[in-house]
Symmetry: C2
Subunit: 104 residues, 2 copies
């Protein structure tokens, strides 16, 4: 298992599409920035085949420190949920009940 960076993909895409590296870099960065901005606005991003990004909000709650009995307000927290799309699911072979169920 290795770690792939944005730079790795920009180099590869530049080679594959013959587009200038600086152009690819700007477009990829803009693409990621747009996703961040939309998630910040609580919008949902749906990329066919690839997947869906959406925000989840955990509501605010009061927590208590069991030792000091001190109560602390924990504010609402947003996080991002990614859900695999059709192509990605297929490639990862994640439909086991269809793919290779076997009686034992």
């Amino acid at each position: 298992m290795s770690t792939i960076t944005k730079k790795d993909l920009i180099d590869r895409i530049s080679d594959a599409t013959q587009a200038k590296r600086v152009v690819v870099k700007r477009i990829v960065q803009q693409f990621l920035d747009e996703i961040v901005a939309e998630l910040e606005a609580d919008n949902r991003l749906e990329f066919r085949d690839f997947g869906v990004f959406e925000t989840r909000t955990r509501t605010a709650r009061v927590a208590q420190n069991p030792k000091t009995l001190e109560r602390v307000q924990v504010p609402a927290k947003r996080s991002v949920k990614f859900k695999m799309g059709r192509l990605l699911k297929e490639k990862l072979g994640s439909t086991p009940s269809v793919e290779q169920p076997q009686e034992v």
Copy 2:
């Protein structure tokens, strides 16, 4: 809350960067395809500020139908986990303990 598609972002990026729509489309699609291929190979993708994509594998197990007592082999299943990066976390304000803890 609205849903944003790949086409929406391609149009926007094309407007913002003055790059031809067809070029933006090819680069964005190539970017997503590369991510899929790397996840298929169980590699990890780390995009600074944005976040990390990686695969998780649930190991194969034997399940039993409680009515028929039939045993079925459930194969291993891979899924994709997305972990928010620094910028995305900041934008979503998801560091509550630092941001606005209050005693009640």
